[in-house]
């Protein structure tokens, strides 16, 4: 039972130190995520992650034939340089699409590894004495390849929609639910069959169908639901890694798979909860389409007040406390740096400035936080919804910049609104509300009108967010 001093249980002669090394790598990955529980420990966490990866890679290299070490090093080198350059160059506002693009690579890598294992089962020690591939391994390979392929094609679509290279509007095929369910059933059925018959056409068909279903599943989902989809695909890429980990009996892969799988699932859950929508309704797709139609009908002519940058600057100076609510529009306009300058100005005048972040502000979880951090806003001035919402009643100015749905009071009162039940900021309790957006016509992603525009205490500041804030800064300087 205890074979620490004996040889490993599989024929490849794995020795216990190898298992230990992979376990250490797995633990380091756990510590990498654990570090993210606070900004001060997060960088150490990232180093743990790197160390874990190094251990996993080196262990694998030293315990296998190195028939092709040069090729491998070249491959790592190519990939590494590409990855590194992308990471240095990418703009922070483009993070959502970068994450989606990276997922597609993990997915495709999983498909390729699965195929390689199928073609060279001996290398993976999954051959039975009879010369056939172990049926359980076939199950794992089939699942791993299918999940990987779905992750790949789904992430490609998500990337295209987030990067604006494909319209964000949902594309709705007729009978799509039927087609999707049918394809999924076919994949599962074929995977079962594959356990009894290892013919190449079966695994090939699984691969093709999975690529197709990944595509079909994501095109009907609107652009603004993409963050949920990206998290879901993140989760999938984890499960694909875990499936390969089962095949290889590799602790590091299994642990990582479970971590990443949970992470994506929990992020999706958090976002759905913050939008008060069910995961199923997001995945069923079509949200953006119906909503913008509804939004169009709801618009009416009501009086509202427009202000200028000078007005805003004057009143901000008079205020004692200002709460800034950034949203997707701030990211689009890249207004975060100008905003930080404005806050610095105001702080010099003795105004207290805080930032209020909604869990789904922007286009990915934590999106606003990263942008503010990029603009050197200290993270202890940035607050979450539940921590700051009670402060609006005491605040002089609620400064809304590029946010919309997350301040819409219809979520609290109007049962027929598509965002009903979503937790929102109580900006209507603030003494003054400044609302930066480009035009009265434009709406938030949910496509509904916003009563905040028409409140007595609201001043609409219609312009590009960056331009408007820069003008305010000039007025403050003067």
């Amino acid at each position: 039972m205890l074979s620490f001093l004996a040889a490993g249980t599989d024929g490849a002669g794995v020795n216990p130190w190898v298992g230990l090394a992979y376990l250490v790598a797995g633990v380091l990955f756990i510590l990498a995520l654990r570090g993210l529980s606070h900004p001060t420990t997060s960088r150490a966490g990232n180093r743990y992650g790197m160390a874990g990866m190094l251990i996993a890679v080196v262990t694998t290299l030293v315990t296998h034939d190195l028939a092709s070490l040069p090729e491998i090093l070249v491959a790592i080198g190519i990939g590494g340089v590409i990855g590194f350059v992308i990471a240095r160059r990418i703009k922070m506002t483009d993070m959502p699409q970068l994450v989606a693009a990276f997922h597609s690579l993990v997915g495709l890598a999983a498909v390729l590894v699965g195929w390689a294992a199928y073609l060279n089962p001996e290398a993976f020690s999954i051959l039975l004495p009879s010369g056939a591939i172990n049926p359980v391994s076939r199950l794992e390979l089939g699942l791993g390849i299918a999940i990987g392929a779905i992750t790949f094609s789904g992430s490609v679509i998500a990337f295209l929609k987030l990067a604006g290279k494909m319209s964000g509007a949902p594309i709705l095929l007729p009978a799509r639910h039927l087609i999707n369910l049918g394809t999924l059933a076919a994949i599962l059925g074929l995977t079962g069959w594959f356990m009894t018959d290892q013919a190449i056409w079966i695994i090939a068909t699984i691969t093709v169908l999975a690529f197709v279903i990944g595509f079909l599943l994501i095109i009907p989902i609107g652009g603004a639901d993409m963050p949920v989809v990206v998290s879901m695909l993140n989760s999938y890429s984890g499960w694909a890694a875990a499936a390969m980990g089962f095949t290889l009996g590799n602790t590091a892969m299994i642990v990582t798979g479970a971590l990443v799988g949970s992470s994506g699932a929990i992020l999706s859950y958090i976002m759905c909860r913050a939008m008060n929508r069910s995961f199923i309704s997001v995945i069923a797709g079509g949200f953006g389409a119906e909503a913008s139609a509804a939004g169009g009908a709801a618009k009416e002519q009501r009086p509202w007040k427009q202000g200028s940058a000078d007005d805003a600057a004057f009143m901000l100076k008079q205020a004692e406390s200002v709460i800034i609510i950034p949203g997707y529009g701030m990211a689009v306009a890249q207004a975060q740096h100008a905003l930080r300058e404005m806050a610095d100005h105001l702080k010099k005048e003795g105004v207290s400035v805080k930032y209020a972040i909604h869990p789904v502000a922007g286009r990915m979880p934590g999106h606003m936080n990263v942008l503010l951090a990029e603009a050197n806003v200290p993270y202890d001035e940035v607050f979450e919804l539940e921590d700051i919402n009670s402060e609006f009643a005491q605040c002089d100015v609620a400064f809304i910049i590029g946010a919309n749905d997350v301040v819409n009071p219809a979520a609290k009162t109007d049962k027929s609104s598509p965002i009903y039940g979503m937790p929102v900021f109580d900006v209507d309790k603030a003494k003054q509300v400044f609302f930066i957006k480009r035009s009265m016509g434009g709406v938030g992603y949910a496509g509904v009108d916003n009563d905040v525009f028409y409140m007595d205490q609201t001043m609409m500041l219609l312009a590009d967010a960056k331009k408007m804030v820069e003008d305010i800064n000039k007025a403050l300087d003067a």
Binding site: A25, G26, L33, R34, L36, P39, S42, R43, N46, G49, M53, V57, T60, D65, S68, E71, A75, G79, V81, G83, F84, A87, M92, M95, V99, F102, L105, L108, L112, V113, A116, N120, A123, F124, V230, S231, G245, L248, A252, M253, I254, V255, T256, G257, L259, S262, I266, L267, I357, M364, G366, N369, V370, A373, E374, P378, Y379, D380, V382, E384
Partner: protein, 94 residues
């Protein structure tokens, strides 16, 4: 390792994942996504096995392609996470 051992490790790792992810502060959810991106490329282990072992030339080239992709992810994922995390700063004491 037998299947039950692997399954046990997987089940326990899911519990760990559940708790460790819930303890991540919402402000770091974007870095969480990019770092999970990087670590899920541990699938490179499989790619290395495929490309290192003799046996099937096709498998080797598939493996090498997977090594490239996983490396993009590993280097890109960790580097972009590092870049983001370096930006999170506390208020300076005056």
């Amino acid at each position: 390792m037998d299947f039950i051992a692997i399954l046990s490790i997987f089940v326990l790792a899911c519990f760990v994942g559940y708790y460790v992810v819930w303890s991540v502060t919402p402000a770091l959810h974007t870095p969480l996504m990019s770092v999970t991106n990087a670590i899920s490329s541990v699938i490179i282990v499989g790619a290395l096995v495929a490309s290192a072992e003799a046996g099937s030339a096709t498998a080797k080239w598939l493996g090498l392609a997977a090594v490239v992709m996983a490396s993009v992810n590993i280097f890109g994922g960790f580097a972009v996470t590092e870049r983001m995390l370096a930006m999170y700063k506390k208020k300076e004491k005056k």
